[in-house]
Amino acid sequence: MRANPRDVRTGILYIDGDVAAAEGALAAGCKFVGGYPITPSTEAAEAFVRRAPQVGAMFIQMEDELGSISAVMGASLSGKKSMTITSGPGFSLMMETIGFGAMLEIPFVIINIQRGGPSTGVPTKTGQADMMQARWGSQGDYEVITLSPDSPQESFDFTIKAFNLAEKYRVPVMLMSDECVGHMTEKVVVPEADKIEIEPRRLYKGPKDKYVPFKPDKDLVPPMVKAGDGYKLYLSALTHNERGYPTQNIKNSSSRRLIDKIRLNADDIIEIKEEGLEDAEVVVVSYGITSRVAFRAIEQARKLGIKVGNLRLVTVWPFPDKKITELSKKVKGFVVPEINYGQVVFEVERCVHGNANIILVPHGGASVHNPNDILTAIKTIVKDKKRYDGILEFKTELELRIFGSGDNK
């Protein structure tokens, strides 16, 4: 299906990442946003609300984040493509309902413009420390999909992708952007509507009396119906069977399928951007704004004759396990920069199985990495003859200046 021309602001725009995400949502056919003001995500809601009445979309500013995400659940089950926009503290408040959405397989998108934390943290500055929370922040076992953009252009593109994945797999999809990308103004090319591919809602087409709410298709995803279409739905977030009825028999429930529909379709879902991996001795694994800053270090390292591969995680969750394991057998080591003190790097470690060295280049947030730090980490990998156990944590120039060299090398 193609986008509706009315929804798409075709042209070359000069907008920030927040606004680009809102434009992406509109282009993807999003017709409902429940939101609540929170820095640094508010610009996205403001951009959406200005355009909403002209494209038949509804924006409601709810009384809190609990309300906004709950309203998003309702609107999505009414048949509208729906999303909410938030940042760290709001994201934390939404966790319970994200689990609810995962359990009832409600398609929706969350834009999380990450900021420095924990708690109130640094509202106007950047961070990438919600990555683990995004994966399993709600109670119980479920899988989600997250995407990390590195620019306003990608905020636009990935928001559309997020909606498509949400509808295709009936799963919460999170755009894990950050303050830096959200508040950065750049050129964004919005294509013509007929160049934008849109995943339609997966509606059930069989006879009404044969509808079984959680009976999956071959790809493990069940088709949906809309509220008020006369299907006499009974939906409960209690552990339920195919009919949606509560059960304590886990074997007959959808619990396993919530995981499998993502894990077994991982090859279709996972997107990575790779370059120079063929003969790389060092691989930089990064996502979001960090991958952009890291690329500067990669370029520089190459000028010095180092063979550096670049692995960008477009989808951080699900994680490209196979790819990393495969690489680990060929390379000397991995450099993982992220704006936190180590989250995704543990996933890299898990997949490397001790085959190669790993250096984490951490960052406390409120700014982005100094590319020189990443470059130094790359050089260290090349130089090291020794194999380390676990992850080597790199001390950045700034940390060295503040805390001294400590016992890390």
């Binding site: 939101g35 609540y36 003001p37 929170i38 820095t39 508010t42 809601a45 403001e46 609300v49 200005r50 009445p53 924006f59 500013q61 009384e63 809190d64 984040e65 503290p89 708690s119 109130t120």
Partner: protein, 271 residues
């Protein structure tokens, strides 16, 4: 001149001044009233706590030299409840904004009032979310413009005294930032009253609310309050909603007795 000290120096964290509030903002006036009331109440300063949530008014706790807590968004009241119940000797003052107390914190607000937890809640109402750049609040009158109501707000607005009264507050008053003396008196009365007291302070937001709606600066808003506020003590709270640039009814609306949470608890314990 050298020896001259600020009259409020004992109550403010002078090392954090200048504060972050914009020129023309009314929060500073609310702080002045609060400090004067504390001074007049002659309370043991070591037994006073100030709790704030998030937002412009949420920064109040950071400037007052008492035990002060800058908590998470909307959670000032439950945080204060915890302090109060853990140590009933303490006197709790919650200072926060309309968005923090009435929107995200609305549930805690009504439940604390229902339980009649002994605390003074000062709700600085500037009709807008200012810290995040001017979004619509439940208190925004219709049809005021904000960044999330770019076509004019169409939602009916919250009537803070009415919510407080219907949920069970024992003392409810409203003043504008202009009525500094009466405001001080109300806070003083509230401080001396056991139970859940609410004092609403209508305050200008020169940077966002006034600018988006072209209402002039802080002084213009003060003049507006001067010309358009009417004191009506014990006015039924139904009549207290505030229209856009309409008359503002101020005064003391509720002053009643109900056993506080701690009292009821003690009574049950004895039984």
């Amino acid at each position: 001149m050298k020896n001259e000290t600020h009259p409020m120096e004992n109550y403010l964290r002078m090392d954090r001044i200048p504060h972050i509030w914009c020129p023309g903002c009314g929060i500073g006036l609310a702080v002045t009233a609060l400090v004067s009331a504390i001074e007049k109440a002659n309370l043991d300063l070591n037994k006073l706590c100030v709790v704030s949530g998030i937002g412009c008014t949420g920064r109040v706790a950071g400037y007052i030299k008492l035990d002060s807590f800058h908590t998470t968004h909307g959670r000032a009241i439950p945080f204060a409840t915890g302090i109060k119940l853990a140590n009933p000797e303490l006197k709790l003052i919650v200072v926060s904004g309309d968005g923090d107390l009435i929107s995200i914190g609305g549930n805690h607000f009504i439940h604390a009032a229902r339980r009649n937890i002994d605390m003074v809640v000062i709700c600085v109402n500037n009709f807008i979310y200012a810290m995040t750049g001017g979004q619509v609040a439940p208190t925004t009158p219709s049809p005021a413009y904000t960044t999330t109501s770019p076509y004019g707000n169409f939602e009916p607005s919250s009537n803070v005294p009415q919510i407080a009264e219907s949920a069970g507050a024992v003392y409810v008053a409203r003043w504008t930032a202009l009525h500094i003396r009466r405001l001080t008196n109300s806070i003083l009365e509230a401080l001396n009253k056991p139970g859940f007291s609410v004092v609403e302070v209508i305050s200008p937001c020169a940077q966002y609310y006034s600018r988006i709606n072209r209402l002039g600066d802080g002084m213009d808003m003060m003049k507006f309050y001067h010309d358009n506020s009417e004191i009506k003590h014990f006015e039924p709270t139904d009549n207290l909603s505030i229209g856009y640039q309409k008359e503002i009814t101020v005064g003391k609306f509720v002053d009643r007795e109900r056993p506080t949470y701690t009292e009821s608890f003690q009574k049950w314990l004895k039984k």
